[in-house]
Subunit: 429 residues, 2 copies
């Protein structure tokens, strides 16, 4: 954990290093992913069989090895303990309600010169959703990706998820049942992303791929951007907690650890105007972290990437928060409004002392798939818009064309595009 | 030009080949671009000086060589011939009006359990706009990119445009004046995109990069996606004209040529239910093309990529149009409504006999930066949303947390994330 004070002589330099730190190892991920994608593109299902055996120790032989049926998903849902089933249902309902209000409105109007103009939104035909296996096999992620797609109106929603050594995660299947997923393919990694993008004999290609994954999955999505639509380039997760000294240090410590326990590369940052409080929080983190079943990950993240910044006034935290452009920002202060008003770059903002970030991971309603690694400067959380696209349209009659056609011709001629001008001129009176 | 009939025995195969044809040469663009970007990242302005000398024969010495001043842009605008200035002004006004209506609404409400939820849209801090030099130096493109950025509220809009042998395009400068561009940098190619994304001593980095360009520019944007936001991966342009036999063949020929004259790799496709009409159009194309100042490009595009498909009924064109997912679709038919209703995938749709595509390039209002190469399946034309991002927010009080907190804890525990559960539990009564 790094401790900074805004009054340190080298504060700007140290803070800049934190802002610029990518927390991602480069390795040769790009090269490996590119050869995996080439292989999937040329050999299709055969490449998936080989790689799934090698990476997941799972043999894709019969149909049951390739995919999970709707019946299996329903059974997994029915078999859930009642309290867990209710929790999943509450989460799904709240996520659906929030995302339904995101559906964009079409436009269709005729302007003062008689030109009909508009824009029409439609869902993509098919979406692919990557669901990690192993450490990050989260049913909540499935809900957060699948529900917006279904709300958007996507007809075919195909999930790809690795099942290492044949193990399926019943919670993920239950969530897939609840969200109305249409297909579940038992493949993972860059090869699964390639199969969804290019299509194979078994897996029909999709138009958009979303969902979290490791560095290979993220790189595969990046490389396939343009072949398909993708939600975003995701990196390690982060939280920025801005807290005054009036918080319970145990609460804030738990919030910081809730980010740290995700991933050794996750980052938790506390900005406070109360140095004594910051030391209490650090102490509570040490105590709490030791008791977690996720302590190894949480401790490593906090040790390697944790940051405490002590400022003189909370107002100073606004500029720092905008530099960090964090995925999650908590405003655990007496009067959060001025901070909320000042923060321009953040994936999601949690306002007040009773809004721990974890509530947004599950049941609040807004999407928990959010821009990481400073990308909140230019990108947004997942929404129904990621599964839709807009066609504009233009209709003119002879009168309307006579009104605006000559200006278009003048510009076309100035740009050296005579056929453009001719296509208008030949229609003019 | 290829001629197909829907009744050809091998129609499906031939049509599939047209749909899959990327019309883009692979070459080693990716490798070259990647080394250019590395060079710009490590050497900054010095790399720009070297590459601008090499590729554009332009020496970046004094400040005037590096950038164009606001005064120069204003002078270029004032020096325009009056009719051209009026045309540019009309285009800018109509583009601005159309895009202002795209501004998204924020949300802020409290739900039935007392959770305050919402989403707030804000502009990115800075946008970079690439404007090609040479063949495709179009002032209309500058307007179509810059105006949405300014409507979105972007404070700093930096244009990069090559000035080969020192030549600046006065029309582009005039458009920059009209659109309110803040900086114009006289650099081009992948190196300009790299400079905008990483920043150099002279050129501060931006958050989003949009704008058309050659294969190197497009690849640079693709590689930098994630470092910055980008609008889309653009390829060669295309038009699909669906026309019945009642059109003037001269008009339709001009429409097809207006696409062809852009680029030898552009594609013009005619679908009609009248074979005789299709032959008249083909004849008129040959006659008109020969007379164009752009004939070499237009003829090559039509020869290499032009397609005529004769169908039995216009209804059949709907499925074909959705396969093609073309950038531009014209519906030059007596009753366009059923076709318009059926088309799911298109960048922009031009309805009726008096809506040539060229009108949308300049003055209609909707954006002319549109998805190419089948990408209308999953992406949309440029809009103010490309220059904005959304932060969600969540506020709870103790009562609201008590209402939905336990469900979140159940899910966190099921996902094996105890610190998540603890951050909620410690706040519950």
């Amino acid at each position: 954990m790094q401790r900074l004070s805004i009054n340190d002589a080298d504060f700007d330099l140290k803070f800049r290093r934190i802002v610029e730190d990518r927390r991602e190892s480069d390795g040769d991920v790009a090269g490996q992913v590119s050869s995996i994608l080439r292989d999937v593109r040329s050999r299709g299902d055969a490449a998936l069989v080989d790689m799934t055996q090698r990476f997941d120790q799972h043999s894709l032989s019969g149909d049951d090895d390739w995919s999970v049926s709707a019946e299996q998903c329903k059974a997994a849902f029915d078999d859930l303990e009642a309290s867990l089933r209710d929790a999943l249902q509450l989460a799904a309902d709240r996520i659906r309600t929030y995302h339904e209000a995101q559906l964009p409105e079409d436009r269709d109007y005729t302007d003062e010169v008689g030109v009909r103009l508009g824009a029409r939104w439609q869902a993509v035909d098919a979406a692919g959703l990557y669901v990690p296996g192993g450490r990050a096999a989260y049913p909540s992620s499935l809900l957060m990706n699948a529900i917006p797609a279904k709300v958007a109106g996507v007809e075919r929603l195909a999930v790809a998820t690795p099942t290492p050594k044949g193990t399926v995660n019943p919670l993920v299947l239950a969530a897939a049942h609840l969200a109305g997923v249409d297909e579940i393919w038992r493949v993972g990694g860059a090869q699964a992303v390639g199969a969804l993008a290019y299509g194979t004999d078994r897996i029909k290609r999709v138009d958009v791929i979303t969902g979290p994954g490791n560095a290979y999955v993220a790189e595969a999505k990046r490389q396939l951007f343009g072949v398909v639509g993708i939600d975003m380039v995701a990196g390690p997760s982060e939280i920025l907690v801005i807290a005054d000294g009036q918080n319970n240090p145990d609460w804030i410590a738990a919030d910081l650890l809730s980010q740290a326990e995700h991933d050794p590369n996750a980052q938790s940052i506390l900005i406070t105007d109360d140095e004594g409080f910051s030391r209490q929080v650090a102490d509570r983190i040490d105590v709490q972290a030791a008791m977690l079943s996720t302590s190894a990950v949480a401790q490593q993240s906090w040790q390697d990437h944790g940051v405490i910044v002590v400022v003189d006034t909370l107002e100073q935290s606004i500029a720092l928060a905008n530099e960090l452009a964090a995925e999650h920002v908590e405003l655990a202060v007496e009067n959060p409004t001025p901070l909320f008003d000042g923060i321009r770059h953040a994936g999601s903002i949690f306002i007040g002392r009773y809004a721990p970030e974890a509530i947004g991971d599950y049941v609040a309603g807004p999407n928990h798939v959010l821009p990481t690694g400073r990308r909140a400067r230019f990108s947004s959380g997942l929404s129904v818009l990621d599964f839709m696209k807009r066609s504009s349209f233009i209709e003119l009659d002879e009168t309307a064309l006579n009104a605006i056609g000559p200006a278009a011709m003048a510009l076309a001629e100035a740009e050296g595009l005579p056929a453009h001008a001719k296509s208008i001129e030949s229609r003019l009176k």
